[in-house]
């Protein structure tokens, strides 16, 4: 999970989930607490989905 995906790709990570921003990869100070929690759940869920999916060479 990162807000700087070009670096994740460059170092060869095979599962990259995009975070919100460098200042807050898993949050957002500009939205309400409830919305932020939903956003965080969303990103973490994506990461879990990514972990449980097969990776193939392209």
């Amino acid at each position: 999970m990162t807000a700087v995906t070009p670096v994740a790709r460059m170092v060869g990570s095979n599962r990259v989930v995009q975070g919100k921003g460098i200042v807050y990869p898993l949050g957002d100070a500009e939205i309400s607490n409830d919305d932020e929690k939903a956003l965080r759940r969303d990103i973490v869920q994506q990461a879990l989905d990514a972990l449980s999916s097969e990776v193939s060479e392209t």
Partner: protein, 476 residues
């Protein structure tokens, strides 16, 4: 044609006057603007319109300063600048957010250590009637980079941050020995301002006070040269009147990051023309605008001072090579490094596309602002430029603590193969105890005094990520 010219001139005179009068009224009387301090508009030169000529021309009138003293009035006589200490103090204390301000002079070669530095600015003032000082920030809005600017060369206004402590990105100014000769600031006469802001002021208020002080003092001093002649005049322009003869000369654009949004900006943080750059997309600037007060350093800085922008060596070099027709310098694309992926994609793509389609560049020079994240954005922008057929040169500095080349790189694109290394952070010097310390608090003064070793990264002007450094490394 003659009629048209006189019509335009007439219109300029007509349009300019009410514009300035209107602005003054707005500035002084609008009760909805609670600035918390008084602005002395009389000390600030008037604004102006956008350029009336297609080619922007900036005349820099240099006045060499080899001595700075306190005197009865602020006056430039020969190469000596006398400063009215009490008059300047009174002017600066008009800002009601200040409790007090200490003003001292530090000379080159003096056994003196100064810190923590908020910013260093070269004293400058627009020749009366030819533009606005720091437009949008201090003076009324105008397009910077045209008309005449008086420069007190060899001097600086240095502002101390009263609530900063010495640390990795905090700045120390050393006035003697090797660290001084390795810095562009070591041989300057510094007017050092050490302000005391009202107790319990929020951090962003303190920073805004410091920013306003810095530019006000710089213009106050610069105005001492008002109306004075000098034989050291420089003209900056991207004159392209000789269009035909420029055929075959490579067109070079400069993509410059002016902030990195991995550090959030304050609402009242002026960076570009008074804007805090939040939500900023790449914008096309004439290089003269950067040299002439459109841009100041952000509150969070890493190896950059406003003095650097005023004397931007990369821009000066590109303009000089433009004049000698080695290249055609097509302009500056100012951009910001992003915090969010969507902003990064947008900014990198638009900057590259602007270089290609608007400036029709054959090649691009890129620099970054701040730490690792801007590094990535610069690399990505360079990759896009290369993909669009524009060869690039990027300037990097060390992003790693262990000094290994591989960990210093946050991008690795085979096509981005012209990399200029702008200096690392581990150069440093053993230092003795200075006779005088100018600091924001007694605590900081003690820390500064007791220093036995100072890292280059903690000193003003030793390393600069955008191309100003006096030190060159050699690999044996």
């Amino acid at each position: 044609m003659k009629n048209l010219t006189s019509l335009i001139t007439g219109f300029t005179k007509f349009a300019l006057k009410p514009f300035n009068t209107r602005f003054k009224q707005l500035f002084e009387n609008d009760p909805s603007i609670d600035r918390g301090y008084q602005v002395d508009i009389t000390c600030v030169n008037e604004g102006g319109l956008a350029p009336m000529e297609a080619t922007m021309e900036l005349e820099i009138i240099n006045h060499d300063i080899d001595n700075m003293v306190f005197g009865d009035s602020t006056v430039l006589s020969g190469k000596e600048l006398a400063i009215d200490h009490d008059g300047l103090k009174e002017y600066l204390l008009e800002d009601r957010r200040l409790q007090d301000i200490d003003i001292q002079i530090a000379k080159p070669g003096e056994s003196c250590r100064i810190g923590v530095v908020f910013d260093i600015i070269e004293p400058r003032a627009k020749e009366a009637g030819s533009g606005s000082d720091f437009p949008g920030l201090l003076g009324p809005f105008a397009v910077a980079g045209q008309g005449s600017t008086h420069v007190l060369r060899g001097s600086a206004v240095t502002v101390i941050d009263p609530s900063a402590v010495p640390g990795i990105t905090s700045k120390v100014l050393e006035m003697q020995g090797e660290p001084a000769s390795a810095s562009p600031y070591g041989n300057l006469h510094h007017l050092v301002l050490s302000p005391k802001v009202l107790d319990d002021s929020p951090r962003h208020v303190v920073q805004n006070v410091l920013r306003m002080l810095s530019v006000k003092a710089a213009v106050y001093l610069g105005n001492a040269a008002q109306g004075k002649k000098s034989d050291q005049v420089e003209i900056y322009s991207q004159n392209e009147n000789d269009n035909e003869s420029r055929e075959g000369i490579p067109r070079i654009a400069y993509i410059a990051q002016i902030h990195g949004h991995q550090m959030t900006v304050e609402e009242d943080e002026p960076i570009l023309y008074g804007s805090n750059t939040e939500g900023m997309m790449p914008i096309l600037l004439n290089p003269n605008e950067i040299l002439d007060g459109a841009l100041v350093a952000s509150y969070w800085v890493m190896r950059v001072e406003t003095y650097f922008y005023q004397n931007h060596p990369l821009i000066k070099e590109l303009l000089s090579r433009h004049q000698s027709k080695e290249i055609t310098f097509t302009g500056v694309i100012a951009t910001v490094a992003a915090s969010k992926e969507t902003d990064r994609n947008r900014n990198c793509m638009l900057a590259a596309s602007m270089a290609k389609s608007t400036l029709k560049a054959d090649g691009v020079v890129l620099t970054k602002y701040g730490g690792g994240a801007p590094h990535v954005d610069m690399g990505e922008t360079a990759r896009l430029c290369e993909a669009m057929g524009m060869p690039t040169v990027v300037q990097v500095s060390d992003s790693s603590g262990d000094r290994k080349a591989e960990s210093a790189m946050l991008f690795n694109y085979p096509e981005v193969d012209a990399v200029v290394y702008g200096g690392g952070g581990d150069t440093g010097w053993d230092v003795g105890t200075p006779e005088r310390v100018i600091a924001g608090t007694p605590g900081v003064a003690k820390t500064l005094k007791d220093m036995k070793y100072i890292e280059g990264a903690a000193l003003c002007g030793i390393t600069n990520q955008q191309g100003a450094s006096k030190i060159r490394a050699t690999v044996y």
